[in-house]
């Protein structure tokens, strides 16, 4: 018997108190939990654990970039609810052979990222272990306009993503195939994919803009691949999403890399994970207003990719309007 991550979370969730707890606004089942005493003073909290060899590989991940990514992953959870990140707690299990140089570079990356997003490190723990394990908890404030949950998607809504998909997955494949970052062997044009994997940019500011727009009914970040992350929205909202294959955005260089490395482009885009873009639903009829509001608010590109229907699950529609189900077919760690 094996337990997948999702099974275990379901088990914990059933056992976890989810209502009538003093101060709890939203328990397990979204990018962040929400707590606090009033609708205006709510806090968001989320936590992630990263293990060497599973979630990152020290062989090719420069410590400074890994420090940045350790923070970025959690910033993305705050972004997914439109929140304002404030505080971090950071625990690390350090193998004895880890050099202080590595560690201080990693900490520099952490510090730089905290500073870029105006966040403070307010706690943590350091322990000795056989393998490196990084546990990060983020606390954020609710946006004055409220919180965007996964639960609000409705029939007729348009599904958007915030940027090209598949870049991180392809970047990781390049690193795996070349055995690490070797400038001599990696084509210059491919670096953008590698950077997407090693140093992802969380969509914190865009998340807040989308929250302030008032037009977004549901939102989630793309950490486990669009197929899985959009499935969470559909499950929590009790709806079906149909996305059009030809509308899925990706970087032009992705095609070339997929050909060279014999990857399936659609697998990278739908199942790859770690793009840390946002997937969100815009209320039927508000699409044009939303697009204008987003354009006005900053240098953001957003891409409509599909529609919300009655039903359940996530379906991919090909060029001939053929549909195949891709519900929860994203990246998943098996326990």
């Amino acid at each position: 018997m094996t337990l997948s991550e999702r099974n275990l979370i379901e088990h914990i969730r059933k056992n976890a108190a989810t209502s009538s707890v003093n101060g709890l606004i939203k328990g397990i089942g979204d990018d962040c939990s929400v707590f606090g005493k009033s609708a205006t003073g709510a806090w968001l909290v989320s936590t992630d654990m990263l293990v060497d060899g599973v979630h990152f590989n020290r062989k090719w991940h420069p410590p400074r970039l890994l420090g940045r990514k350790s923070i970025a992953v959690n910033l993305s959870d705050i972004a997914a609810m439109g929140g304002i990140p404030r505080f971090f707690l950071l625990s690390v299990s350090l193998p004895p052979q880890l050099s202080p140089e590595w560690l201080f570079q990693w900490l520099d990356g952490v510090s730089a990222m905290l500073s870029e997003y105006d966040c403070a490190l307010i706690g943590g723990d350091t322990v000795t272990g056989k393998e490196m394990n990084i546990s990060v908890t983020v606390l954020g404030e609710q946006h004055p306009s409220g919180v965007i949950y996964r639960t609000g998607a409705g029939e007729g809504d348009t599904v958007y993503v915030s940027g090209p998909l598949g870049s991180s997955a392809a970047g990781l494949e390049i690193l795996k195939k070349t055995g690490g970052w070797d400038a001599a062997r990696i084509q210059h044009t491919w670096e953008v994919l590698i950077n997407s994997h090693l140093d992802p940019i969380p969509q914190v500011r865009l998340g807040q803009v989308l929250c302030a727009s008032g037009s977004v009914s549901a939102m989630q970040d793309i950490s486990d691949g669009l197929a899985t992350d959009l499935s969470h929205i559909c499950k929590e909202s009790g709806v079906r999403a149909v996305i059009q294959e030809q509308r899925l955005p990706s970087l032009p260089v992705l095609d070339e890399v997929c050909q060279t490395l014999q990857l399936r482009r659609l697998d990278c885009i739908l199942r790859g994970g770690e793009d840390y873009q946002l997937v969100f639903c815009v209320r039927r009829g508000s699409e044009k207003d939303l697009e204008e509001y987003v354009k006005k608010s900053g240098n953001f590109a957003i891409y409509p990719i599909g529609t919300i229907e009655k039903g359940q699950g996530v379906f991919l529609e090909g060029r001939k309007a053929d549909r195949s189900e891709i519900t929860f077919q994203g990246y998943e760690h098996l326990v």
Copy 2:
């Protein structure tokens, strides 16, 4: 070059923003950090990481009790500031060979403890790793009477502890020497020490009573041994503590176990760690009132063990009034 846990925390602390951060009331440097917008609505947060073979040993730690202890360790941090525990986030790295039976028993222990302390699990992460790693974050509310920090100890204060010390350390030694919990080989009278190690009781309710008393100037929980934990209070308050050897409370059975296993009783008491009792300072002249208030508030025993003086460091005073310095001589994990 090795970095001790304390060195690393000092480095992080120097790099961490500690003031003028929106919503931050108290950063790194106490049992919990404190954040929130007003003095009455503040939240406490703390995090701990536990690694198999370092902080616990699955060979002799029954999974249900380990689940309880995973939560207890963090409840103790809330207790140390007189707070009210509310929410937990729990991340685990699970080795593939871990049985689902073990895992569900561990989760049962977690759930039981959460329920006993009226707390809700509101987040977490499950990942695959080579070694088991448990990362726990607790969120608590500030007590209506405020927060007790480490920083308030003043000259003339009396130092107290909330219960017998050294039990957990002796319990661990019994388990190590017998190779685990073997009822046939372990004397019945020793079980209380083993239980202190395997299933410690955090002093949550007493912490709140001490907070409500208004007489406690500084407080901390005893996780790394009295010598180290009282040193934190002295360092943060800029004072010296002198404790009397003959006033240090311990269970009667500790003497017997120390003789049989050739342990030094004073090492267990001062340096052993993991007792999860509270050490706190009571303002000069308030001792009698405090003792009466505590007695009135519940079935709590508290023990005066020494005095706060001008100066720095922690000193142990023997029967002949001879003093030896024991500052930061408690248990410490070396990185």
